[in-house]
Symmetry: C2
Subunit: 216 residues, 2 copies
Amino acid sequence: MSVRERPLRWQRRADARPQELLDAALAVFVERGYAATRLDEIARRAGVAKATLYRYYENKLELFKAVVRHSLVASLDEWATRPPGKAVGARERLVSLLTAFMERVAGSPLSGIPKLVVAEAGNIPEVARFYHDEVIMKARAIVVGALAEGAAHGEFRPVDAEYAWRIIVAPMLFSIIWKHSFQACEAQPLDFRRHLDAQLDLLFNGLAVNTKKKVR
Amino acid sequence: MSVRERPLRWQRRADARPQELLDAALAVFVERGYAATRLDEIARRAGVAKATLYRYYENKLELFKAVVRHSLVASLDEWATRPPGKAVGARERLVSLLTAFMERVAGSPLSGIPKLVVAEAGNIPEVARFYHDEVIMKARAIVVGALAEGAAHGEFRPVDAEYAWRIIVAPMLFSIIWKHSFQACEAQPLDFRRHLDAQLDLLFNGLAVNTKKKVR
DNA sequence: GTTATAAATGACTCATTGGTCACTTATTGC
DNA sequence: GCAATAAGTGACCAATGAGTCATTTATAAC
């Protein structure tokens, strides 16, 4: 529809702009944090002037909130409309869930959101609360539900689900935090698949030597 | 030695100041992040004027580095001089390690450092590298060592230690990040002991139902 | 074409804050 | 007591960067 081959210095693209600005803003916010992010830098990466940002967002804080809200809402929509594959039991539900997280989130720009929210919780508690309520509590419910179902059907040992859910979620958070903060310190990038496999192996079988029946 | 009952407006305490300033700085940096932290705020919490900070630290960045360096060096010293109780096997070594972390770090101001380092990795990579090399790699070595020893002695199943160590460390990180970023969203504070118990239970036994021998 | 209008911008302002400095006050040595 | 010295300070400066606005330019309507 619109010219896209030669990025003119001047271009009017009111439809595409908002998303472009959000994309650029997400990248810079994740890299630098809220306070250290310069609006000029976001504008530069989006290929516009700083003043253009203000045509679409009230101010820096509103832009920030829009970045988080938009990213999360889009992601939650995705999970709602395309839930992880039909599961035959609690174990498969957990595997699907963690696998889907790795496939959908870990490799995408979205993976920067948790780091960002965690880092800014002290400055922008409103965003932390939103993330807590809309993302964490949903994840918690799913995991606790799977643990309860698994225990009820004799598929899992009974565990302290109210605390175990965090143990199960933690490695997911760790992997994306690693990517955004310590990847640069290492020669090899983190292999998300292998990371997940290591978790699933430990999660279901544990470390203890099992002289009997291996659930496979 | 020095007057401490009535906190005069003017007091010369060249010996106690550095630590007081570091303590105040750590608290504010953890709460706000580097860029959002105002030197006036640190000074206020330490009960001094902003200019006093400059008698002890070159500038904001040097203060920040001193906070991280000092905290970590002190902690590493502590671990070096008072290692977790003598362990009879790999399993007990892991238990001691994780328990010691919870007891020494989780409840202390030190627990804010990881959040801080993670958040500022993009702005101050030097600090991220220091943390990576001096803390993370040491933890990794210990955990990988325990896994290897456990496997060699038939105490543990063999696992992908090079990735499994992160799975084991992740819940520790999660617990302190939770405390500093999402505690405020919840009615009940996180029970570190219960969190650790939940992890140990899962770590050693896994979720799978074990019809035979329960390693206790 | 011509005009209307909405997108986009560069140049500006102004509040904030890291950093400095001349000066004040506590402490130490004699 | 009385310097001498070092700790501590308030008031200031300069740079930075969020936010504004008059103006320019692309697009749409006719």
